[in-house]
């Protein structure tokens, strides 16, 4: 069973118009117009995002929260408005459930560290899946090692889908937290996270969703999902680098101890005793990335003006077109063949090494990613050195997919 996504609105996206918002898309690479198909690694940024940050720096740049003066007030307002926008975007009940971080990786590390500190004991375990990004494996390994706990794994099948048959049994064996990705960055699979959350909650176990590859492609509502924690990165959803979000249910955030210490996160400090600030500041030590927050806010505004349903539809159509086009290439095999997929196409061609294919595509101006995509365990499972990954955004076009398939054919000719 999979989560289904309803397309509420079929506003058609005018892709040629939209592309004008991203000047980098008309770059030439080795004399060819750039075909940017590495969106799962990072997306390009619309002018609106860059303008919002420039405007911040040009008009109100100032440190937030602690100032009496006018600029500091304006900066604080803009900075906190971004938090409200983010809360709204993912359907959080409260803006103070939004914790600002550097990105998905830090969000997961934060939960791993503080959850382990409060709740993990020797013999306990944390459950992840077999298709996680390293950022959703290593923090748990580190936290578990420290506590004498272990990391358990939900297996995946040959299609690149999670095998949930044994889930109930797994959950009943000392699991204290489940952390899985919503959409796999290596395979594109949309995981049945509702089922997982429901099952975990039946056992009273909280769930963290790594939504790094989800929030830019589809509507995600944390209340409707009833998820306990959710992490994503600004730079993968058209926002600036170096910024990200951890959502946590108020109840959990209040119970968990702080992560880093410093300015902003405290109420009073003496050398004898320090008391911590309220949410969300308890988890935000030091001067935050003010421009980053404002940039992500502007990115979400931009998405709203296009409309997430329209984006979803455009990407859905493009994905179908790309799947068809790739299937026509003899010897090409998809790695991960789930029908529920978003954003990512991972494949291999004959016995061509992905690195060779990627390089020949690059020479034709086509940017794809090759390698293990920070998901080595999947590559080990399939016994492959890596894949070629083309990943889509709403600004990609069928003509670019044609360039990709022609590029692959040229590479095949050269490499065969």
């Amino acid at each position: 069973m999979h989560d289904s996504v309803t397309i509420k609105d079929s506003n058609v996206l005018d892709v040629e118009k939209v592309r004008k918002d991203f000047p980098i898309l008309s770059t030439l690479v080795f004399g060819h117009p750039l075909v940017y198909l590495d969106n799962a690694a990072t997306t390009q940024k619309p002018e609106a995002v860059l303008n919002a940050m420039d405007e911040y720096y040009h008009t109100i740049n100032s440190n937030v929260h602690r100032g009496v003066h006018h600029l500091s007030q304006l900066a604080t307002d803009a900075y906190e408005l971004a938090r409200k926008k983010i809360a709204e975007y993912i359907g959080a009940r409260h803006a103070h459930e939004i914790i600002y971080t550097r990105g998905t990786t830090e969000s997961i590390n934060m939960v791993a560290a503080i959850f382990a500190k409060r709740y993990l004991k020797a013999g306990d375990s944390v459950l992840v899946s077999g298709m996680e990004h390293h950022s959703n494996i290593v923090p748990w390994q580190m936290a578990c090692e420290e506590r004498g706990a272990t990391v358990k794994v939900i297996p995946i099948d040959g299609n690149g889908e999670l095998v949930l048959d044994g889930l109930d049994k797994l959950l009943s064996e000392g699991v204290k937290l489940v952390s899985v990705n919503y959409v796999s960055n290596a395979l594109g699979t949309i995981n049945p996270v509702r089922d997982i959350i429901r099952a975990a909650h039946r056992h009273g176990i909280p769930v963290l969703l790594d939504a790094a590859q989800a929030v830019q492609h589809m509507e995600v509502d944390v209340q409707e999902l009833d998820v306990d924690f959710l992490a994503f990165s600004s730079h993968k959803i058209y926002g600036p680098t170096g910024f990200g979000v951890l959502y946590g249910k108020e109840k959990w955030l209040n119970e968990l101890p702080p992560y880093q210490g410093g300015g902003e996160m405290i109420k009073t400090v003496t050398f004898e005793k320090t008391t911590y600030n309220d949410l969300p500041y308890k988890f935000e030590a030091g001067t935050p990335d003010i421009a980053g927050a404002i940039g992500l806010g502007a990115a979400l505004d931009y998405i709203q003006t296009l409309g997430l349903p329209a984006i979803r539809q455009a990407e859905h159509n493009l994905m179908a077109y790309a799947l068809d086009a790739l299937h026509e290439i003899e010897g090409l095999r998809m790695i991960g063949s789930s029908v529920n997929r978003a954003g990512v196409l991972s494949f291999l061609v004959g016995d061509i090494h992905p690195f060779d294919l990627g390089e020949i595509l690059d020479k034709q101006g086509i940017a794809v990613r090759t390698g293990h995509h920070c998901a080595q365990p999947i590559m080990d499972l399939y016994c492959i050195p890596g894949t070629v990954r083309a990943s889509l955004a709403f600004y990609n076009t069928p003509a670019e997919i044609d360039r990709l398939t022609a590029g692959i054919r040229k590479a095949m000719k050269l490499l065969k």
Binding site: I352, F355, D356, E359, P385, L414
Partner: protein, 142 residues
Amino acid sequence: MTIKEQQDEIIGDFEFLGNWDDKYEYIIQLGKELAPMDPKYKIDENLIRGCQSRVWMHPDYKDGSITFTADSDAVITKGLVSLVINVLSGHTPKEIIDADLYFIDAIGLSSHLSPTRSNGLLSMVKQIKLYALAFQAKSLQS
């Protein structure tokens, strides 16, 4: 041929090749033609790090000079390995240590190859020089 002559020959060959396709085709051809490596040497100890692809290299020190055999799972990499080996194989440790590998820049490879590749190439050269140093140290002792 000296290391210098070998390099100049490669540079000559590449001057003949016009655009990037031709250069790549040539490198790929070299990769395909690289003498196969004895499977017993395709072991982890002979792996060179720093590549997205894997490279195994084995040095054979006989009669004062080193012969390299190598392999890679990616054919472009294999072609590059082949170029480097052609230049350096069959020379004395000292010659290898002193070698200035100007051909890599001269054939325009560094600007064409992805730095990931170039870094791989550099790791490869570094590894070869380390082998040469080790053999030189050994021969000085004995």
